[in-house]
Amino acid sequence: MAATTTPLPVAPARRPRTALVGAMLASGAAFMTYIGLLAIYLVERSNASLAGAEWFPEGVVELGPSGWIFWTMIMSIFTVQWAEWSIKTGDRTNGLWALGLTGLFAAAVFNQLWFIINDTGFTLVGSTPEFMFFVLNGAFIVFLIAAVSFLALTMLRALFGQYGARQADGVGAAAMFWNTVCVMYFITWYVVYVTK
């Protein structure tokens, strides 16, 4: 048995991608939380359907505004990838513009969601469909705020030169989380607004 440190030859240095891996795992966990809520929504809707009850009253939950959110989020996917690519290639100006534009799209999504919630006239303590609608949209807003905060932090770091051509993992991580939130919305859009 050895009682002293075993001498070891030196291994070559590697560049870890902790930010990307961590963001992937966090995005997966956030996605599973949201999918859990969505699954409960679907089960409640299925129960209502089996009982012969109406889920949403006709014409209350409109497809139009939710479609605008859908297209806004599609555009934001392009801008966030633009930001990542720009910062990776050392084009900080374009990267900051792209991040700013993504933030603007996020604000637009928030505004449109607010409009939808007010337009439906639903209350949290109303019927099961109203309650589930609120919970789902509320959870989405929480994830949206988290993604925007992540993007804002990334933007600040890029602004102060922490991210650039040599190190852009943080931007990639923020983009990954943003894209996950977009996928959350796409599923919600289909489940809540299209199939109602």
Partner: protein
């Protein structure tokens, strides 16, 4: 059986262990050293273990004679503490203990200088402590996971706090899991592919992945109930009273999900045994594969009540039966390695006892689980559920304790007391088996999962008494662990040296205690799962 003794006197140095540098409160709450962060998790989880074990004793004696013994002052209080015991044992003791152990050991095992996102790991530790504190206080204030006699307004507030506390604990565990999994994925030293990762680190990667995929569903359940409690229409907190809230999250404590908590136990067993045997693990890649299979079969988010339907029942039965195989395979692999090695004969070391005991308890758990899913036995809804949960969680905790004794030189810089360790771990193993197996047996006699009224059955009464004795042994074991930890922290005993057990993996290539940054220089390019054995073999060849 071939066993080993604690480190021989010739291999220890008769000087006091190097004490950890004195740290102030600020250092303690703001450190980014993974070893200190891990120690915070471990100590907090062991304190929670003691508290949980005391609640377990009270529940055990209440169940011996449910109609005449009234420890808790009413069915509702009993139900609340019964729920607390379960969630605390799994989410506030077993999982944090294993995460804490992983935070200390895994970075060293893979040749990293620190854990990934150390500040997040620290924040997760404090979040876990805060969440656990909120949960315990809220349950004592009349909260819990529902109320059997109806939810009053005061209780609704306390219950909301319980849900919040539980949610905080789960989020903290997930954050800790992200740190550990990211470390294994992205900070491995050169040459260490996933097949060469030490089995404890691999089992933690599998466990963290499963936790990250499944526990968020529990957060969704908690969030729905939290909002619903504020006047929502789903009536989880219905004024007539029921255990509907508990039922929504009970899947976390039931099979297959409960097995996810014990995934690292397999890794700890498979890490300790080859070192004791003094040889390489036989068929290392098979162990890697079966730990992965065990992880896959313990994914249980789909088994929550919302998703229950016929196809799920088929899955439930299939998973319950199939999971026996990987446990047998891993324990068989470890046993074959022990038999093939040249472990010295003698009184077994505490960590070997713990590893073997954890294997036996886990085997008892999966066999109980397999019986539970066989419909003619009619065990669903019986105390077999509690028995299975106790066995699985206590297997994980026993493995965690084995790891604590095994990696003590790297965790705290000194040995844990070996004599006390043997006693404590033997007591813990006996307690776990006496606590869990009688509950499974009582299930065959229709003993309910939540026993609020007495069952007129002499077998059930006898099993309840044995189970209560098991709960006492577990509590005594928990107290013994705390005492051993205090003795270890006081620095009594011999200095362990850097590699007292002749370990095979990289954590044994650094000093005890390891320096900040773990290694004075980056570790060697790894070419197998046992890099220190490779070096020893090269020296022999030379």
């Amino acid at each position: 059986m071939t066993m080993t003794e604690s480190p021989p006197a010739t291999e220890t140095q008769s000087v006091a262990p190097v004490p950890s540098p004195a740290v102030g409160l600020y250092d303690w709450i703001s450190t980014s050293d993974h070893k200190r962060i891990g120690r915070t998790w471990i100590r907090a989880s062991l304190l929670m273990l003691l508290g949980t074990a005391v609640v377990g004793i009270l529940i055990g004696f209440e169940q011996v004679d449910a109609s005449s013994v009234d420890v808790f002052g009413g069915d509702n209080s009993y139900f609340q503490l019964w729920g607390l015991y379960r969630f605390a044992l799994v989410l506030m003791v077993a999982a944090p203990l294993l995460i804490g152990l992983a935070m200390v050991v895994v970075p060293m095992q893979i040749g990293a200088t620190n854990i990934a996102f150390p500040r997040a790991a620290l924040a997760a530790g404090w979040g876990y402590l805060l969440g656990a504190g909120i949960t315990v206080v809220s349950v004592l204030a009349g909260g819990g996971w529902g109320a059997l006699d109806g939810v009053s307004q005061d209780e609704a507030d306390a219950i909301a706090l319980t849900l919040l506390g539980t949610g905080m604990v789960i989020v903290s565990l997930l954050l800790g899991a992200i740190c550990v999994a990211t470390t294994v994925i992205s900070l491995r030293t050169s040459g260490m592919n996933l097949l060469r990762v030490p089995l404890f680190a691999w089992s933690m990667l599998v466990a963290c992945t499963v936790w990250l995929l499944t526990l968020p569903v529990a957060i969704a359940n908690l969030a729905i109930m939290y909002v619903d409690l504020r006047g929502g229409p789903l009536t989880f907190g219905n004024p007539e009273g029921s255990d509907a809230m508990y039922a929504q999250v009970a899947w976390v404590l039931d099979q297959p999900q409960i097995y996810a908590i014990a995934i690292p136990a397999l890794g700890i067993i498979a890490s300790i045994v080859p070192v004791i045997a003094g040889t390489r693990q036989i068929a290392h890649w098979v162990m890697v594969a079966f730990i992965g299979v065990f992880g896959l079969l313990s994914v249980g988010g789909w088994s929550q009540p919302y998703f229950a339907n016929t196809s799920d029942e088929i899955l439930y039965i299939a998973f319950g039966l199939a999971i026996v195989l990987p446990v047998f395979a891993v324990i068989g692999g470890a046993a074959a390695t022990l038999a093939a090695g040249d472990a010295p004969v003698g009184l077994p070391a505490a960590h070997l006892l713990g590893a073997l005991g954890a294997g036996v308890i886990l085997l008892a758990a999966v066999v109980s689980g397999a019986m539970k899913v066989i419909e003619p036995f009619d065990l669903i809804g019986t105390s077999a559920h509690t028995g299975l949960m106790n066995l699985t969680a206590l297997a994980a905790i026993t493995a965690g304790l084995a790891g604590l004794w095994f990696w003590a030189p790297k965790i705290g810089g000194g040995f844990m007391p070996s004599g006390l360790g043997r006693l404590v771990i033997l007591d813990f193993i006996a307690g776990a088996l006496l606590l869990g197996i009688p509950q499974v047996v009582a299930g065959f006699f229709d003993s309910p999962d939540l026993m609020v009224t007495d069952i007129d059955d002499s077998v059930v009464d006898a099993m309840s008494l044995v189970s209560a004795i098991g709960a006492v042994l577990v509590a005594v074991g928990a107290l013994g662990v705390i005492l051993a930890l205090i003795a270890s922290m006081r620095g009594s005993g011999d200095a362990p040296g850097d590699n007292p057990w002749n370990g095979h993996t990289l954590e044994w290539a650094t000093t005890s205690p390891p320096p900040v940054g773990n290694f004075d220089e980056p570790p060697a390019k790894v070419v197998s799962e046992a890099p220190l054995l490779d070096i020893a073999d090269e020296e022999v060849d030379a």
